[in-house]
Symmetry: C2
Subunit: 194 residues, 2 copies
């Protein structure tokens, strides 16, 4: 039996599709490869692609009011890559999405997405639910960072995203957790001697 397209697999968690529907969806998807440091989306651009990561890691970063670079999200295997707010609202991205490793992505353009929306029942709701779940998870995690020490935050990160710590440079993890690279380096040292 042929292995299912991972993109459809994710959607299938919310509803089963007829073979005809699967074909239609597949026809509107595109496989893309990114090398380390390639960008999926740049600041100021409209985000007209949404992709499911089948290998690799991306990060989303922007510059805050002091000009400091802040890594606000990581996007890992089996997660969607894209600035979802921009994708759905045709708005302009305030940050950049960059590949931290070589990546493979199954992606759909906004125009193809709109076609599927008209053809496939529940299409929009399914995506909304997926995004909702991601956001709820993310909000809860960020909330937990606010009331923790640096060490606790990093331990939670390790627990929450066990895959990421090996793939992502320390400086970006530090930024993501809201601490300096110096602090994170010290935290790691402390943890390693436990």
């Amino acid at each position: 039996m042929k292995t299912k397209n991972p993109f459809i697999q994710i959607l299938s968690n919310f509803r089963n599709f007829e073979l005809e529907e699967e074909k239609l969806i597949t026809k509107h998807l595109e496989l893309n490869n990114y090398s380390t440091r390639d960008t999926f989306l740049k600041t100021g651009e409209r985000n007209d692609q949404l992709g499911l990561i089948t290998s690799g890691v991306f990060r989303y970063y922007f510059y805050d009011e002091n000009g400091s670079e802040i890594t606000a999200h990581f996007m890992d295997v089996n997660e969607f890559v894209g600035n979802v707010a921009c994708f759905f609202e045709y708005s302009i991205s305030a940050g950049t999405i960059e590949a931290l490793t070589d990546c493979e992505v199954i992606q759909i353009s906004k125009s193809n997405w709109d076609i599927c929306k008209n053809e496939i029942k529940d299409w929009e709701v399914i995506f909304q639910k997926i995004i909702n779940n991601v956001l709820i998870k993310k909000t809860n995690f960020q909330r937990s960072l606010l009331n923790n020490t640096a060490t606790e935050s990093y331990l939670k990160f390790l627990n929450y995203y066990p895959e990421l710590s090996n793939k992502v440079p320390l400086q970006h993890v530090a930024s993501y957790l809201g601490m300096t690279p110096f602090s994170l380096s010290r935290v790691r040292k402390t943890i390693s001697t436990l």
Copy 2:
């Protein structure tokens, strides 16, 4: 001309409703009053009500792994009150929603919501979008707290939720921002002398 029901008003930002639809929706809504310190939802309960706040403020709080009480959300006028994750998934709430002032709420039960879902086109998508927007806003705000000093965080809070600072006890704002009440008290002192 009769003033529109605020609940329908909010939904109308996403789609216009026929008069018949509005009647149907209204029929499934209920007006409720809460006194200060009444609970909308308790830890361990299933959240089968979703409400639009027409006056007053609620907070959502839970106890973290150290047993400290953490205020994770405020819900103000024109926002929805409820644990949305629980509402849509019939799951059990990990925290309590409590009225911080006397409140008036237009609410809908899950069973009535389900009825509307079958009767009103786009019903589910509209709610998903509303929740999505709230979550995106919340995530961005929380993210900004991670890279700020206590004073900056409080100034952002004032800017972001200008109404709330007068209505909400200091201790809960402090918890929300991830600092101690002592620190927030000092921050306020500093700010007042600027």
